[in-house]
């Protein structure tokens, strides 16, 4: 009997020693730790505050409990929360972004939260009650993709002075993200900007190859209007790709992309670039104007808005305009009353600008007033 107990004890001890000194030591530690009733663990609660509007009423509350091992007494500590999106597997974690600066690290938009935890009085002190690490609205989180996401919440206690991790616990939950993910938004944004360039290519009525100067205008515009590109080469790459395929451009598809996925201002961005492109060549031909008008129609931009933008971009650029009356909203088929009314409106507007403190605006206003008078003279001389 005694021998049996002794042998069993010896075998167990030998097995334990064999595992301890093998690569499976981590698993063993986990088993041991699970057996520890004071082990450090965390939990994630999803709460609803019905007093808040829908979409902003969900909260995450993250808590922790258990032993905090330290090497000495009275160690000052911080607690830290990180979140990883492991929907595509633990080996391919996606970054979770925060829309709230309070839950961001200094250098990037990734979710990161750290705050002071206090003094741990003794070695291996135990946090006996659930303590809240963080509570924050769910809507501040941004995920890579829309839909059901697997989220790993990692709570750690750090030594305040050195930042060394004293203990950590992980908790996985599932969360349904109802907005477009940032990767989807990025890819759509690229499509929108691509559409803007495509419409600009169409507006100039030129065939490839395009000059370096015009390509440079488009590249600069891309970089100014978007923070999607980390380098000039990236923006150049997009422009070159569009320029190479310019002969196969599908105008309707570009306009549809803008209307379907663009924000309200994107159609105006597209028009602005198209106008700059038309003005770049120094001579806005009737054909270019008709192309611009087609873009405006497809993008469903109001005529008065188009005219205001076209005047601002083209009239200040000093380029020659083949048929300036269109820019003033005059069409050849207008009856006399509408013609007078329209021209008078334009005259009133530009006449008020003629005493502007900025000499460039004054000169522009002067030129337009002369233009208006000439258009009127021409019309009535033709009539008589």
């Amino acid at each position: 009997m005694m021998i049996g107990i002794f042998v069993t004890g010896f075998v167990l001890a030998a097995g334990f020693a064999a595992v301890w000194f093998s690569p499976r030591r981590g698993g063993l530690l986990q088993i041991l730790s699970a057996l520890d009733r004071f082990r450090f663990i965390s939990r994630v609660e999803q709460l609803t505050d019905e007093s808040l509007p829908s979409g902003e009423d969900q909260f995450f509350r993250v808590k922790m409990i258990g032993r905090i091992p330290t090497e000495e007494d009275n160690v000052d500590t911080d607690m830290q929360l990180e979140i990883q999106d492991i929907t595509e597997g633990r080996s391919h974690p996606q970054q979770v972004l925060s829309a709230d600066e309070q839950y961001r690290s200094e250098n990037n938009a990734g979710f990161h939260f750290i705050r002071h935890n206090g003094i741990v009085p003794e070695k291996n002190s135990v946090l006996a009650r659930w303590a809240t690490v963080a509570q924050f609205p769910c809507h501040i989180l941004r995920f890579s993709h829309r839909g059901r996401r697997k989220l790993m919440f990692c709570v750690s206690v750090l030594e305040a002075e050195t930042g060394r991790k004293l203990t950590a616990a992980q908790k996985m939950i599932e969360y349904v993200y109802c907005s477009d993910g940032y990767r989807e938004v990025h890819s759509r944004r690229c499509d929108i900007l691509k559409s803007c360039i495509e419409l600009a290519v169409f507006s100039c009525g030129q065939t490839p190859p395009f000059s370096r100067d015009i390509q440079s205008l488009w590249t600069t515009w891309l970089q100014e209007k978007s923070d999607l590109f980390t380098s000039a080469e990236e923006a150049e790459g997009m422009v070159e790709q569009i320029a190479e395929n310019a002969s196969a451009l599908a105008l309707e598809a570009s306009a549809e992309t803008l209307l379907a996925y663009g924000q309200g201002t994107d159609v105006f961005l597209a028009l602005e670039l198209a106008l700059q492109t038309a003005g770049f060549y120094g001579n806005v031909t009737l054909d270019m104007y008709q192309r611009l008008a087609r873009i405006v129609k497809m993008l469903q931009i109001r005529q008065d808005r188009f005219l205001a933008m076209a005047q601002k971009v083209l009239l200040s650029s000093g380029c020659h305009i083949e048929e300036p009356s269109y820019l003033l909203g005059i069409s050849p088929d207008m009856d006399e009353a509408s013609f007078r009314k329209r021209l008078n409106e334009e005259y009133r507007k530009w006449n008020a600008r003629v005493t502007h403190p900025d000499a460039q605006i004054r000169d522009q206003a002067d030129r337009v007033l002369t233009l208006i008078a000439n258009i009127r003279t021409q019309r009535f001389q033709t009539c008589s």
Binding site: G264, N344, R348, A352, V354, T355, H356, D366, N374
Partner: protein, 515 residues
């Protein structure tokens, strides 16, 4: 009692009028006996310090155009314009100050001229009005007010001629054009609206004649007629003569002398009218715009009053007759009625502000005259409303006090703070009609400090008021805290020249030998 006077500081000619003992305005001739003085300045080269103003300056200009200045009014308020003579940079205010000094010294022989009202085109903005007032101060005058030229002309017509009903004042001067619509009932005048074109006047008509000269010369000799500033000055004067002659005769013959030879040219009235057609079109547009603003049609206008030398052109009178169906009214002298009206305005201003300075005779003469003017420009502020189409905030100029609102007037609009915890807002006062802030003149910008820790959408009431002295008061009121930001300014208070600079320049002009 000092003499009460009004000055028409014109682009091509200036005139001074004073009120006589019974409040009637009369022109005071200059020392050459002329009722109007050319607004021209010439800095003598041989007699150091001698500055000629008027006809002599015009005559000297062809000899050395580099030392002459004409049409300075076109540059009033332009900070970049300077005329460099013998190491001194003359500003438009100083040049105008020299012209005013000449008027003052010539017209002060009987009794000294001190308190004056100076006329300006109706469309002049704050900077140009201030520059005009500064010019008066530099000349040693006490500028008690500024009056719009068409208003001055209307005052003269209303008080001296039998004019009643809705009237259109057509003021086509040497450099600017104004249209004003007003209601006259006896001696009561209510301004309805004004519209102006800053670059349309006799000078522009002259330029068209020069273009005709150049075209003929180029065709004949395949060379340029005007080779230098001296040639330009010469042909500018010739063109003015041709224009005036064409108002009396059907054609003019001239011999043009250039470096490539001479050429005989005949310019007919028909040719001239064709050349100036686009300028006439501008006057017609402005009339239509003014009628639209006054919500009037052509048939509502009972009289058209002509002001300014350029209205002597037969084509102007003929077009007006075609448009309105009756002959326009021509004053005794279209060159003088602005100065005469400005003198009446000076009398009215003194009666209102300093009645003790006005003699009983003048007070009795003006007691029936009532004038109700309007705001010359729109005043607003910069705000950021949500654009309906894009759903984004857009920067806009929001008009609070509209142009042509009868004076005195007041208007309030409410705006809202944009963000949580907003502790300040930029209070900008704008002048101009545009919605686009790039195209309006920002005349004042102040920071309004708000209480901390408040949510967005807190109401801010913005109240603008404008009184008959053209003093504007702007108040930004935070409704919740009761905090206010007050901004007050008057025409002629905030300008490009600091008081010390004005005093220094005034001393220099006072010491100048102006003949």
């Amino acid at each position: 009692m000092s003499t009460i006077a009004g000055i028409d500081l014109g682009t091509t000619f200036s005139a001074l009028a004073r009120l006589n003992g019974i409040g009637r305005p009369e022109i005071v001739p200059n020392c050459e006996g002329e009722r109007i003085t050319p607004s021209a300045v010439y800095f003598e080269e041989e007699e150091a310090g001698m500055i000629r103003v008027g006809l002599e300056a015009v005559n000297c200009r062809q000899l050395n155009p580099e030392r002459a200045v004409r049409w300075i009014k076109r540059y009033m308020g332009d900070q970049n314009w300077k005329k460099s003579i013998d190491g001194h940079d003359w500003t438009p205010q100083e040049i105008s100050g020299l012209i005013l000094k000449k008027l003052k010294q010539d017209c002060s022989i009987e009794s000294p001229i001190h308190d004056v009202v100076i006329s300006v085109p109706a469309h002049f903005d704050e900077a140009r009005r201030k520059a005009t007032m500064d010019a008066g101060t530099l000349a040693g005058l006490n500028v008690i007010g500024i009056v719009n030229e068409p208003v001055a002309a209307a005052l003269y017509y209303a008080t001296t001629q039998n004019v009643n009903g809705r009237v259109l004042v057509y003021d086509l001067g040497g450099g600017t054009f104004d249209v004003t619509i007003l209601d006259i009932d006896g001696q009561e005048i209510n301004i309805v609206c004004s519209q102006g074109d800053h670059a349309l006047g006799g000078v522009d008509f002259d330029k068209k004649i020069i273009e005709l000269f150049e075209e003929v010369y180029r065709k004949e000799h395949n060379a340029e007629l005007i080779q230098n500033e001296q040639d330009r000055a010469k042909y500018e004067d010739e063109a003015e003569d041709v224009k005036k002659t064409l108002s009396r005769r059907n054609s003019v013959r001239k011999i043009l002398y250039g470096t490539a030879g001479s050429v005989r040219v005949e310019i007919t009235r028909e040719q001239y009218v064709k050349a100036i057609e686009s300028l006439i079109a501008r006057t017609e547009i402005l009339i239509e715009v003014a009628l639209e603003e006054a919500k009037s049609s052509v048939s509502d206008i009972q009289k058209v009053l002509l002001v300014g030398g350029s209205t002597r052109m037969p084509v102007v009178q003929q077009r007006l007759k075609e448009k309105f169906g009756f002959e326009p009214e021509i004053a005794v002298n279209v060159d003088e009625c602005v100065a005469l009206g400005a003198a009446i305005h000076a009398g009215l201003t003194l009666l209102r502000d300093h009645p003790k300075k006005v003699s009983k005779g003048i007070a009795a003469g003006l007691k029936e005259v009532r004038l109700r003017d309007v705001c010359n420009h729109s005043y607003g502020t910069i705000c950021a409303p949500i654009d309906e189409e894009t759903g984004r905030h857009v920067i806009r100029n929001s008009i609070i006090l509209e142009k042509n609102t009868p004076l005195p007037c007041e208007a309030t609009q409410t705006f809202y703070t944009m963000s949580d915890g907003q502790t300040e807002l930029q209070a900008t006062i704008t002048q101009g009609e545009d919605e686009d802030p790039d195209f309006v003149n920002k005349i004042a910008t102040e920071i309004f400090t708000l209480p901390a820790d408040r949510p967005s959408n807190r109401p801010i009431h913005v109240r603008y008021s404008y009184d008959v002295n053209q003093r504007m008061h702007c108040q930004f009121l935070d409704e919740e805290s009761g905090r206010t930001l007050e901004v007050e300014f008057c025409v002629g208070e905030n300008g490009q020249m600091a008081p010390a600079e004005i005093q220094q320049a005034a001393e220099a002009i006072n010491a100048a030998n102006v003949q």
